[in-house]
Symmetry: C2
Subunit: 348 residues, 2 copies
DNA sequence: ACGTACTTGACAACCGATTGCCATAGGCTG
DNA sequence: CAGCCTATGGCAATCGGTTGTCAAGTACGT
């Protein structure tokens, strides 16, 4: 298709034709009707092989590319999928985005990536926009309430990531399941006084992580207090660290690695050593968790794969033909990765 | 527009109408022609104020949103701008992307973000796609050769970032200008044997940085050797570190922070201390450069602003009306940020 | 050789907007 | 009151495809 670009750039000349070729140009060149061209390209079996080949040759010669706008308008399908993330600068979403991008491209779809700026209003208005300009949507870490989200899902195919709403297919990154591991790890190091540093109040992930942690704590008879909420940014780490120190705990399990890394920095500024004076466990194992100082003990999961799975589930909704068992829920495993930010409780 | 969503979700009911409202629905409701509706919404002065208000009220009532596909098809403008980056998981691009996203949204445009996977072919084919589905394109760190890029720019409005090609407006992040600073910094610490760890062979940024550095080195009479090329990923840091150690230099200036961070890790593994045994200077001051171990001395610039400027320049091309002086080139200042990864030359 | 069934391709409506052109109506001037 | 101008809004073509319908053409069996 892009031989002109790829090979010797100047080998062939037709390129410079004013505007891109349309099916009408092809039709004229071949002496057939535009509709025949359309069929030859879309339902090849519907058209005589000889005509078809003539048309296909002409299409190549004219460097024809279908106009996606027109295609979308007439067929109703846009060939695009929206991907909504709350904060594009949060490294957690990089791998997710890359996963969706790869899988979508493989299936011939275009990805429309939108940063909803942690705002439910932006999210809602984006979803409404996308209703016309995308065939479906993947919503990561939605900030919307259940009703709005369910309503939006009723209007267009949707898959959520890390958000459970009745009737909406979801990919869940099962960080909560690693909470007991994390707690046991801390207990085995002698900690008995632990804090959970929570994320945004509207984050279902944060709530689920807290639930799992406090349940595990109760079973084991240790006390876990909750701090926060904090915005999921490194800057929030300072306040979180101060709160943790003030609360007197010896270890923290933190909503995500961004906050945890911020805490690491703040604790260092305050002259406290990690893990000697305070142990820190993050969540997500984002870019940076392995090379911060000290490297962060955190919970890892296959994020890119989560993105790919989300796309597969969405495409299954869009093309029900493929017999793919229409799963409604996919859970990604998570495990604790121990690095340098956790250690024995201070002897004191 | 989304009162239904935002306020009390169930306060008003019309919402659930099968498919979205069109101008024809509004026209029918108001007893006017569709074209009048179109004008009332686009050129309000072209239609009587009473009719206009009636139409606008109906539009609100029906929860009308224009169909962007149809609009694009008939008007020729898509309201979308493509943003191409070589690797979406490279933190350098986060802030750039956020800058473009914010500025585009402010101007009412949609951002189409594409990861070209460091591939010139993907980049070329994406550009061809976008020609129809976007009004313009911002290409960051293009991997395309000059001819192909210039050809693509001739076919659609384009602004490049960190890539200078004749006739193509560009935003240049002037890291080369900080190279003398970096070198002086190292010289002041006693280093006389320095290496430049270069990036991808096709990266113009890397070439420009090397040119600036070797020129500065010649002026000052110090020797700088070149290592590489290396892919711009942390994984490449291991090979780069080994090469640096083998070459016997006492300090490295590295194409970007990803490689530099990878080198930090590798040097640590090999039991070498930074900066005691080897000083490292990165480029770009990405997410992570401030909290790695040791924190990285690097070159900082206003990346998000670069994204915003790129968008402004592109929009100036798209709407020549606004008298905005049509700059063809915008240079973002860069400065050295000294952190912990540089220190005095080993005494030995 | 005729009827039937199937293949092939043309015609035209349609998707949802934009926009040039024209008809009408009303106000104004003289 | 005639004549003209302007404000207003309708008609219809157009953007580039898709798709239902139908007529013509082909091949086949009897």
């Amino acid at each position: 298709m892009f031989a002109v670009q790829r090979g010797t750039p100047m080998a062939t000349q037709p390129m410079a034709t004013g505007r891109p070729a349309t099916i009408h140009d092809i039709a004229a060149l071949c002496g057939v009707a535009a509709s025949t061209v359309s069929r030859a390209l879309a339902n090849p079996e519907r058209v005589n092989i000889r005509t078809r080949e003539r048309i296909q040759a002409a299409a190549v010669e004219l460097n024809y590319t279908p106009n996606s706008q027109a295609k979308a308008l007439s067929s109703g399908r846009t060939g695009a999928v929206g991907v909504l993330v709350p904060d594009i600068t949060n490294p957690f979403y990089f791998d997710l985005i890359r996963g969706t991008q790869l899988q979508l491209k493989a299936a011939g779809y275009t990805q429309l990536l939108v940063d909803t700026e942690e705002s439910d209003e932006v999210e809602a208005s984006t979803l409404e926009q996308l209703r016309k300009s995308a065939d479906g949507v993947i919503v990561a870490a939605s900030r919307l309430n259940d009703e709005s989200l369910a309503a939006a899902a009723a209007r267009m195919p949707m898959v959520t990531v890390n958000r459970d709403v009745d009737g909406v297919p979801a990919v869940i990154i099962d960080t909560p399941s690693a909470m007991p591991q994390a707690l046991d790890h801390l207990i085995s190091l002698g900690h008995t006084s632990v804090a959970y540093v929570s994320g945004p109040a509207v984050s279902q992930s944060s709530a689920r992580r807290w639930d799992a942690l406090s349940a595990a704590a109760e079973e084991r008879g240790v006390e876990v207090r909750r701090l926060g909420p904090f915005a999921p940014k490194t800057q929030s780490g300072a306040a979180a660290a101060d709160a943790a120190v003030h609360s007197g705990v010896t270890a923290c399990i933190v909503f995500n690695d961004l906050i945890a890394i911020g805490m690491l920095q703040r604790l260092r500024e305050r002259g406290l050593r990690v893990p000697e004076d305070m142990s820190i466990v993050g969540c997500d194992d984002i870019f940076g968790a392995d090379f911060c100082n000290p490297p962060l003990t955190t919970m890892s999961s296959p994020i890119e794969q989560a993105g790919r799975v989300a796309v597969s589930m969405l495409l299954a909704q869009l093309n029900p033909l493929a017999g793919g068992g229409n799963r409604n829920r996919s859970v990604m495993p998570t495990h604790l990765t121990v690095r340098g930010s956790t250690g024995p409780v201070p002897s004191k």
